[in-house]
């Protein structure tokens, strides 16, 4: 398009455009954001795919994630080592899934991973309690927390094992009208 940028090759940008929900301009902008998190670590030239990972502590302090109670879980779910260290690919992937254009099914998969604190492929009562406490600044009494978690599991659990598998979760999300508009970060 006449943009004399030297950060990515054209094939790389094409591949990014195919694999994410961003346009070329947005990918370049994302690279700028990634770079300014750690200017000395992140190279400006990505044409030869450098293997650079930023630690989780830098990413969770981004203004878009700073106030999110699940920021550490979000970053962990998109990182390859489970610790929250994101390469640029993971970084772009994260914001792509959280963008407006990602479909509900894709978002539901990652939402499940985020809310599954102990990563056992089930959202059990402890996971729910942790979620609830992060959401309400721990101001509910323990009985209320217990009651809310029980009611939530009662509402969504289909197969009767008193915890939510991915099928239960996806079914519940498909009936949650707010999910698409709230599970969305603008960058």
């Amino acid at each position: 398009m006449g943009n004399k940028q030297t950060i990515f090759t054209d094939e790389q940008l094409d591949a990014y455009q195919d694999c994410t929900f961003f346009t070329r301009k947005e990918i370049l902008r994302l690279h700028g954001r990634y770079h300014e998190l750690a200017p000395h670590l992140v190279p400006m030239d990505y044409t030869n795919d450098p293997d650079v990972k930023l630690p989780s502590a830098l990413i969770v302090n981004m203004p878009e994630l700073k106030e999110n109670p699940f920021r550490s879980r979000i970053v962990e779910s998109f990182s390859e080592d489970g610790e929250g260290n994101l390469s640029f690919n993971d970084f772009v992937d994260m914001f792509s899934v959280l963008s407006e254009m990602a479909p509900r099914e894709l978002k539901a998969i990652y939402a499940f991973k985020i809310y599954d604190f102990n990563t056992d492929n089930f959202i059990c009562k402890e996971d729910l309690e942790k979620t609830l406490n992060r959401l309400t600044r721990e101001e509910l009494t323990p009985e209320e927390v217990n009651l809310v978690c029980e009611k939530a599991i009662e509402e969504a659990d289909l197969d009767g094992d008193s915890k939510l598998s991915f099928a239960d979760f996806e079914n519940m999300i498909s009936r949650a009208p707010d999910f698409l508009s709230t599970f969305h970060i603008r960058i």
């Binding site: 106030e67 390859e80 998969i109 009651l147 009208p177």
Partner: protein, 731 residues
Amino acid sequence: MDTVDSVFYPGPSNNPLLDQLPSYQSLLYRRKSSGAGGTKRRGSSRTRLNSRTRVSSSSSWKWKGDRVEERPTTLSLERTVRELPKCMEQKRRNNVERMEQARDLSAWKQWGQSARHSLKRLKEDCGQALSWLELWRQDIHVIEGMFGTGILSYFSFLRFLVLLNFVIFLLMFGFVMLPIIITNRASGNATFNPKHEGECTIYPSTSRRGLVVFHHYITDLLSGTGFLEETYLFYGYYKVETIDFPSFRYNLPLAYVLITIAYLFLSLIWIVKRSATGFKRKLVQDQDRFQSFCNKIFAGWDFCITNEMAARLKKSSLLYELKTDLEEERSRQKVAGRTVREKCRIYVLRLVLNLFVVAVLAACFYSIYRATIFSQEAQMYPPRNFILQLIYEYLPSMVITLANFITPLLFSFIIQFEDYSPAFEIRFTLMRCVFMRLASIGVLLFSLWSQITSCGSSNCLCGYNHKLYPCWESRVGQEMYKLMIFDFIIIGAVTIFVEFPRKLFVTYCDCGLAKWWGQQEFAIPQNVLEIVYGQTICWIGAFYCPLLPAISTIKYFIVFYIKKMTLVKNCRPATRPFRASSSNFFFLVVLLIGLALACVPVIVSIAQINSSHACGPFMNYNTSWEVVPQAVSQLPGGLNTFLKAISSEAFAVTFFVVTGLAMFYVIALAGAHKRVVNQLREQLAMEGRDKRFLIQKLYQAQKTPVRSTQNLEEPGGVFLVQPPAVSATHV
């Protein structure tokens, strides 16, 4: 049962059976941990499902690994690469694979694919270019970050109304005003042959002569009389029958009527189109088992919030919502436990309170009626003092605004005694307020018409009271103009004189009163009602005052900035948050009610009431609608009969019957789908229980000591005594 259930609990010896289930394939974690005992308490070692490292693994696992990988790709062929839940490298590889597969296709299919690809790219680039043109993009982004998606929906609704009004103005301008402007400059010849004679056609000029005091100009500007009355602003100026251009004749009255119908229709289609997505989502919601708790926990946090203050408030509001839900649960149990005596008492109380509400509404409507009549009579003999004159002119507007200020407070006070559930309380109060606001315009118009069509004791000579209202459409237009100006003044005045001082008072004064009053909350429902009220006035008034949509556009444009300023400076987010999903739907439903209400006066006045003979484009017709049948009769024969056939009763009845059948069919289809969904849900639950049962049985069978040879003969490697070397799921 407990020991068997432990198969589901995470432990150091995680049952590998679970990991091999196909349903877990979609939950590929991006684990790169190699070697035994990774960072989590996973006993077995995993290696990355990567073709590069495959070489070292055993051949059987490689085969299994490939087969396992294959299944997701065949399932996901319908989905584009970007929708796969895999990490970037895998998506890239998928992309490359697909492109290589595509190369094997025939040349025609290849061309088709590449055409689709470049079309998609083009659409994305165009979309990005167009988004730069979007009005107020940056402002709305800032608001979203600070206050969340509920208030965002209000501002995008406001933006929608600005655009709608601008388009309506362009329609009116292009088809009604532009031809007249062109005739004044250029080629056309505006003709008009008055058919009626006599006193019906007398239209005394209202422009002031002689020495005019300055404040008369202000009065004229604010009430549309005097120098404004005979301008493009009002209906009375369009005294043209046809315009003869060199090549064709332009029938202005026909254009006027058709454009009125067109803009009402356009508004309807645009609103319905906008509400379609929200409506679909509302249908999906299963009302019987609505999951309020799950919604709040999993979809409650707005990920867009970037402001610390807003985050804290969001947490408080979620807390409040959860407590309210628990409260609602308790009240539901209480209602279920009500005795018959209590029920009787509640119903009697509700009946009495509803009668009281009806009485209040009747009183308000009556006062609007009297105020309008008083104002009309006062305009015949205006007082000397111009401030008093202005007050008399604006009396209906003031009474309407006062009524709309008091009644919501009254309604929200009354509903506490009616003992409904909290959600229903909000909705019911809102419905009452909507009705009050929109019906007050109707009452104003009704009282105007009763004045216009009453000629004392005798029958009206010209079909309307020509002595008092030689050009009654302009008068109605003036009333609508006054309503709109007053509405705008009130919005500005309330912001400047109530909200700013309140903020200063609450911030700097440390007394108990300040704490009790508290900071202003941006109450979305009331604000939405305000702008829907303004839009209804615009729709009704555009027929009588063609420039009203332009005034409305400018008004909403300024209101956006006023509201944004008051939001940022004076308000804190509401403790009772307004749901984003249902709010869009709610706004558009209220707007549709306003549109429906606006159609009624317009249709009645076009079709029923005699148009005035002294001014306007319909001087030579009895009613405004007459111009259409006359124009149709001048069309060529075939088209003429066709249009006559469409408007005949036979066609109308057939059309309604067919539409009724179609609706019945669609409703039956929806019911059938709902039943199927319920059945499938039960089936899903049953399958889940089956799965649990089978896995428990397997686990039991595993645990019982058997001869080792039996285990190794099992096919597929399902039964394993030791954990496997690699696991297929955790990548």
